[in-house]
Symmetry: none
């Protein structure tokens, strides 16, 4: 019997970062956690405090934020065979993480007890019970991850069940059954869960699947069909080896296909955006073929499909793409696009009607720019400037006459030297100056600021807080197009801008210019508002 509700347990920050080539800094982890909280994920596993200092810092830092809905979980192992629970530094680190949830994992598979833990089967049972019993009075929610449960169940089902028995004795509120090596088939997952339910009819179960057999989503759903009420996974399925169960695929299957509540429909619409946000943060290119949230997931080739899809979308679409914040794609200008522009403009306080030809112009410009590789999800300031330009409301703060950036290296071991010269015109005045930098982009940035601060001293209060470069897909090697995303901050506001070019300096230039223009534009906008308020 499927459960009446499924609780989502995200481990992108812990198991996800075990993936080859997927790394998050402390700041990244905080930003991802806040995003997951905003989406409505129930549990966010932040790390393993006993295993590395970055994870400890995360737990101490995240306490400064008031989460809306999510509970943070700390992850760790049962105590070391040579120590007693109360003297085990790993268990103490879990308590010190001061999280509302602690998830502790133990061994279910006899081979692992002997070969990895190097202790006796009997001792392992004690270790599990004692570790949980030690934590129980000190933490508010306690979950148990039964590592390698399914492999253990195949090898020695009685022993695997005995380990769960000890976890329940120790106070586990949920038994999370793990397919750690990702090798099991859905039919076996269901067979094993049946045996667990016969033994523990009243204990909530969870599932933690890996994708080594391309079955992590199927195995998770198979467990839910049997009654599992907690699903552990990661966004975009990142994780060790072939990854973890992909929450981006599991969540819509639960909500839309199995009608099991886990996210509010309104939150479900953010799914694609959150998926992309996390990839942007980790600077990993999205997989266009990704189910539900990928760019190709609802892409229809022209002709016969289109009219059928328009009259009866379900003829060629397994779900309505809007449910997960994705879009149907084919080449027609649809009204929802214009309405979208209008909605966005309203957000910025720019009144515009969806029938206004400006809305269509903006829409066409965006399509063209996106085709070129621009992306506005993390660059709303550039988007706002674009709308203003289309409406003829854009004021020009300066004009570029020209720049030149020189980067030289004088010997094999010598440090490179970067210098930029720039000429700009502000009002009637021309400024011609130069600056050095740590690398050519920095030199250009320094020169531009030096030239403009003379006219606009308020730019001194503005700093760049983030600078990201993404090489766009293509087969052009060092001639590939790059997208530069810049985040700026002036002590009050933060804003993002974007630039795209084959030339990284040109792309950086576009984003820098937008960033400076936005700063000036905001100052005027606030001036106007103030004016209104004082009337």
């Amino acid at each position: 019997m499927p459960p009446s509700q499924v609780f989502l347990y995200d481990t992108t920050l812990r198991d996800g970062t075990q993936a080859e080539d997927f790394n998050l800094s402390l700041t990244d982890k905080i930003r991802v956690a806040l995003k997951l909280d905003d989406l409505g994920i129930h549990y966010i596993e932040g790390g393993w405090p006993g295993s590395n200092p970055k994870d400890e810092e995360f737990f101490s830092e995240i306490r400064n934020y008031a989460l809306k809905r999510a509970k943070i979980a700390a992850f760790g192992s049962t105590h070391h065979p040579s120590k007693r629970a109360e003297h085990d530094p790993n268990l103490h680190a879990l308590v010190e993480a001061k999280t509302p949830v602690v998830t502790i994992f133990g061994k279910s598979w006899t081979v692992h007890v002997k070969e990895a833990l190097r202790t006796t089967l009997e001792k392992n049972l004690e270790i599990i019970r004692d570790s949980l019993a030690f934590l129980r009075p000190q933490v508010s929610t306690l979950f148990y991850d039964a590592e390698h449960f399914f492999d253990g169940f195949r090898e020695d089902s009685e022993y695997a069940l005995a380990t769960l028995e000890k976890a329940v004795e120790g106070g586990a509120e949920c038994l999370v059954l793990c397919d750690t090596n990702g090798g099991n088939l859905p039919s076996f997952i269901q067979e094993a869960i049946k045996a667990v339910q016969e033994r523990f009819p009243n204990v909530p179960l969870g599932i933690h699947a890996h994708n080594d057999s391309d079955l992590a989503v199927a195995n998770s759903l198979a467990a839910v069909e049997m009654g599992a009420s907690q699903v552990q996974g990661t966004f975009n399925g990142v994780g060790e080896r072939c990854g973890n169960a992909n929450l981006c695929s599991i969540i819509p299957a639960l909500c839309v296909k199995m009608n099991i509540p886990c996210l509010d429909p309104e939150d479900l619409r953010k799914l694609r955006q959150v998926s992309r946000f996390i990839l942007e943060i980790a600077n990993v290119p999205p997989n266009r073929y990704q189910p539900y949230v990928g760019r190709s997931a609802f892409a229809h080739k022209g002709g016969v499909h289109i009219s059928a899809v328009e009259r009866h979308p379900s003829t060629y679409e397994h779900i309505d793409p809007a449910l997960v914040g994705n879009k149907r794609r084919f080449l027609i200008s649809d009204l929802s696009g214009r309405a979208g522009v209008q909605r966005k403009a309203m957000e910025f306080g720019i009144p515009i009607s969806s029938k206004d030809p400006v809305a269509l112009e903006v829409l066409n410009q965006i399509k063209e720019l996106e085709h070129q590789g621009y992306q506005f999800e993390a660059a709303e300031a550039s988007f706002e400037l674009l709308i203003n330009r289309a409406m003829g409301r854009f004021k020009k703060y300066f004009e570029l006459i020209g720049y030149r950036v020189v980067d030289q290296k004088f010997s094999e071991d010598g440090d490179p030297v970067s210098e930029a010269t720039i000429r700009v015109r502000v009002g009637g005045q021309e400024e011609h100056t130069a600056a050095l930098g740590r690398g050519p982009v920095n030199a250009l940035d320094n020169a531009l600021r030096k030239a403009l601060e003379k006219f606009y001293p308020e730019l001194k209060g503005m700093v760049l807080t983030d600078y990201r470069v993404r090489v766009l897909p293509g087969k052009e090697g060092t001639a590939s197009k790059v997208r530069v995303l810049i985040e700026s901050h002036d002590g009050k506001e933060r804003w993002g801008t974007v630039g795209v070019s084959h030339d990284i300096l040109e792309a950086s230039w576009q984003a820098l210019v937008d960033s400076i223009n936005y700063k000036m534009y905001m100052a005027e906008k606030n001036q106007e508002k103030k004016g209104c308020g004082e009337k």
Copy 2:
């Protein structure tokens, strides 16, 4: 009851090429077909002869090759409602393809009959029977693809079954049930198949699944568990929208986990190589996380894991990677000590003892470089060069005297111009040259190649296939450190190199230089190997 054997039906050449961004020329298709034949795939769907001329050419061209085991299939639709079967050009094109197998698809879903085919339910039944009956005497093997079968079965199970009835009457030897929109869950797939088997107990069944729900592999295996003996899919899961069922995941599950014969074990060992071959032909970068055949599929990161895996591989590996031609890898970022360096060096064929002081030196260098932001997971070539340097085995192929890169923009809307000059010394000779580029990195790349190709013409065969830039965490804005990862390819091998600097040109330079050095070093290494063999 699972069948005693599964027949593999590959549609990479037909449904696979419906994927966005996956294209094959006629020559490519022939090469892929020969490779699939060599692997032991039973049926190869070559295209839709009625729909495009390239597919017709394929069928005429492939007849010039003597295939060892595979049978070629031509694909097409039932006849047009306005025509009689014997006058339908599409059916004639199928006959003229002269393939041993013809696969014909028809409508199972009432909505599609009315909305897409625009005919009556009764007429559709006739169309199916007549189309197959027309083909039956003219082709040696005839399969029927029941398009949208599962969606049709949900909507009107009686009608869906009636369409199959007509296909059997027309002479279909196998009923292939299609999840065309990819929206169904494994439990429903099994429920529908059960009903089909009750109605047609003696007709072989097949499954054709799409991956829109991330369940195509699970749905295919669920069908086989029920008794389906034909599995249709594509290599690497390419296909329309989110792709088709991935044969690279299905084949090993059948052979290794379900013990259902479909490929000989000796052929199974070619799986990874065939997967990569097809991606190379299509010029699509491989997905490192792909189950079974991906580069990360058997990559171990954690320190604890490594020692356990070495003693008992099954503790952290769901199958022996060699069964599918893959390899275990230990990730460099977590080399737990000197033994790790030794192990990695052995992987590269460099003999080194863990007691050798060189191992300690390498370890210290790696720690220092990782601290600076280098990362060797995707840059094993840089790592191999580093070991060689530490061992004093590194040969210098050229020396940099200096470079200068200039990037200029002459007006606000003007395109930037990038130029690089370079001086290098090779042997006693100096080369001083210059090149333009699309952006400063490309200009530097072009100038370096221009300078060196004179001395090393083999560099002409080497191309950059991937160029990635990651801004390292920090609050330095445009002065942030960047890490550049480059992947190069010379038609046979692919290798990754890395560079880190505050200056993106310097970071790119480091990775480019390593890439070129590695190419030269490999050529010598292969020369040495050849020398040994000839003794």
